[in-house]
Structure formats: C-alpha cells, structure tokens
C-alpha cells in the first residue's frame, strides 16, 4: 500500500501532463524506514522520448548523494505512459532495480494530459514480479515525523 499526500500526487500528475507526449519521471524521497514519500524531485527524462525514460547518469549521482546526506531513500519512483495504460511495461520490469520503492505509473493517454482524470497506480517490482498495490491519498500525513522541506515541481 502506498500512502501519499494529495499535494504530491497532484504535482506528479501535473509533471506528467506538462511533459506529455514525452514520458515524465522523478522520485519522491523520504526518510529511510519511514515508507513516507515527502520530498518530490522531478527529474529530466534524458531520453526525451514518448516511449522511454531514463535519468541522466550525472543527475542520478547527485540525486542519490543528496538523499544519502539527508538519510533518505527513493520511496516512490514515478514515470508516465503517454499512449498506454498505467501498468509497468516489460522494459519497466526488466530494468527495475529498487526492490523497496513504490513504482508509480501515471497515464496521460486519451486526452488525459489536458483534462479529466489521470490514471495513477502503484506497484512493487521485485525480481521481475509486478504486484499492484492500493494507493491511499491523504491531505496530510500524521505528524509523528517532521516534514522535510519539499522541493516544488
């Protein structure tokens, strides 16, 4: 199950719409062990493609260095599909290498990049196995953990 704040969910959808018809991608970092996505980091799709996404290797290095310094992990790794459903492609599954991340897929197909509901779904991808999970959208997380500063989309 993925629990995510509405503001972050909406920012991911906005990013996907903005980059349509290319795929958008990014992470939501959170404190290690919290399973709570708090810091949205939209990434550049270095492939700039409607059918593929990839973080630039230099961007990837800096992202992980920043997360390490903050004690964070990539709680959510998201990307959009712009002509197909919000389900991991064979390529997604074969490349997925963060077994503890929630892989979020957003679909902007069929005009969803302009208006109307956007499919927003979440999966675990471990050893080539895809498991869909429930997404719970909340207004605010319970305040037992301080909310680190969030980067805007």
């Amino acid at each position: 199950m993925l629990t995510i704040e509405r503001e972050i969910r909406d920012a991911i959808v906005a990013h996907a719409r903005r980059d349509h018809p290319d795929e958008a991608c990014g992470v939501v970092a959170g404190l290690e062990g919290s399973d709570r996505p708090t810091r949205l980091v939209p990434m550049l799709n270095a492939a700039m493609s409607p059918t593929f996404y990839e973080f630039d290797s230099g961007d990837l290095f800096r992202l992980y260095r920043d997360m390490d310094e903050r004690g964070e992990v990539p709680v959510v790794i998201y990307h959009s599909h712009t002509a197909t459903e919000a389900y991991p492609s064979r390529t997604d599954v074969s490349i997925a290498q963060e077994p503890f991340a929630h892989y979020v897929l957003v679909s902007t197909r069929d005009g969803a990049h302009e208006s109307g509901p956007v499919d927003f779904r979440s999966y675990r991808i471990v050893d080539g196995e895809v498991t869909e999970e429930e997404v719970i959208v909340v207004e605010r997380y319970a305040d037992d953990v301080p909310d680190p500063k969030r980067e805007s989309a």
Partner: protein, 94 residues
C-alpha cells in the same frame, strides 16, 4: 590499498547488507575482480560480455570520484588510494 565502494540496495545481498565495502585495484576492472573474490556473484551483476569484451552493464552506473566511468575510460578507468567508487542502478524504463 583500500578503496571504499558504495553498494546500492539491490546488491547488498552480496555484501551481507553492508552499504559500503573496502576493496582494492589499480583499475575498475581489477576492483571488480577483488569485489568478486570477497562477494561471489556480484561481478555478473555489474559486467557483461560486450562485442569488444567485458563492459559495464547497460543499466548499471559506476562512478569514480563522482564521474560516470563511461566518460573516463570505462573498466580501464584508473584508481588511486584516495578514489571513491559508487555503484548505482540506472533508473529507467519504457
């Protein structure tokens, strides 16, 4: 000569859960062989046979002193005592 190597989550099964291990070598290729001796199986996750011999796997990134080795000589990239090595899985898909 001990060089710190940062290990990504997905490869920590090979390092007993350690996030960083010490290894040695005067090049990345030698370092990976040393890693393999201490953590059998890890080399196959990092390197594949390419048309021109062993190459870093397409969706694995290895950085020496913050630079992706694809731009610094690939597996032949030289290491010194003060080098830091970071391994990161690519984040990519279709």
């Amino acid at each position: 000569m001990a060089i710190e190597v940062r290990i990504p989550t997905i490869l920590r099964t090979y390092t007993g859960g350690e996030r960083a291990v010490e290894s040695s070598g005067s090049s990345v290729a030698e370092l990976i062989d040393s890693l393999e001796s201490a953590h059998p199986g890890i080399k196959d996750r990092l390197v594949e046979d390419g048309a021109d011999g062993p190459a870093v796997r397409r969706f694995v990134n290895i950085y020496v002193d913050d630079e992706d080795i694809r731009f610094t000589g690939a597996l032949a990239t030289e290491l010194s005592e003060s080098s830091t090595v970071v391994i990161l899985p690519a984040v990519a898909g279709g």
